[in-house]
């Protein structure tokens, strides 16, 4: 397997079980047992899927007592989205205007969004 960041991310996501785990984690932290519950699969198998997601930087391991709660890390997805942008013009008809809008955002708001907006 290729070991560059993007390849690892794509590889990690190329499995429905792992995408399901990620979707679950996007709703909040969870333990391995909780994550394994929906799947017809042994615990070690899930544990290994998690290791793949961790290697890709999509999941982070915490530690509380005998629990190792997992947490979702979106950064690799941001990078993947960035790579995908190179191809958006091939399918997105309104890409030109979207692109213009994004450039506008970037120009006028280098400081980021107002915290009270969230």
């Amino acid at each position: 397997m290729s070991t560059d960041r993007l390849s690892m991310t794509l590889q990690a996501l190329a499995d429905p079980t792992r995408r399901a785990i990620l979707a679950r984690l996007a709703t909040g932290e969870a333990t391995v047992n909780e994550l394994a519950e929906p799947f017809d699969m042994s615990l070690p198998a899930v544990s290994r899927h998690l290791k793949v997601l961790e290697r890709a930087g999509l999941v982070e391991q915490g530690r509380t007592a005998q629990f190792r709660p997992r947490k979702f890390r979106p950064e690799p997805l941001r990078d993947l989205a960035g790579w995908l942008e190179n191809y958006r013009r091939f399918w997105d008809e309104s890409f030109d205007r979207l692109d213009a809008y994004l450039k506008e955002l970037q120009k006028g708001e280098k400081h980021g969004s107002d915290p009270k907006d969230r």
Copy 2:
């Protein structure tokens, strides 16, 4: 390997050689020999990479004399981008405003963009 569309797409993209091939094809059609040229790899190896990309629907095979020119198909990337959108809010600070803008686009322009714009 998982055989659902999204998994196949991600699997296909999870290899730097295949991403390079795709990048090349995004600039226009090319034969297998042309595609293989930049790589330190046998022709059959490239041929098989192409088959993976084709299975994912990212590449289409043409036929002219003894040549089988390959063509880029962006649709699976559009779908992947769609999937990624579910997670954008996790990393994009300006997602709220972008989302608003996209909704605006969708509302006001159901007919698509003006052809003369392209």
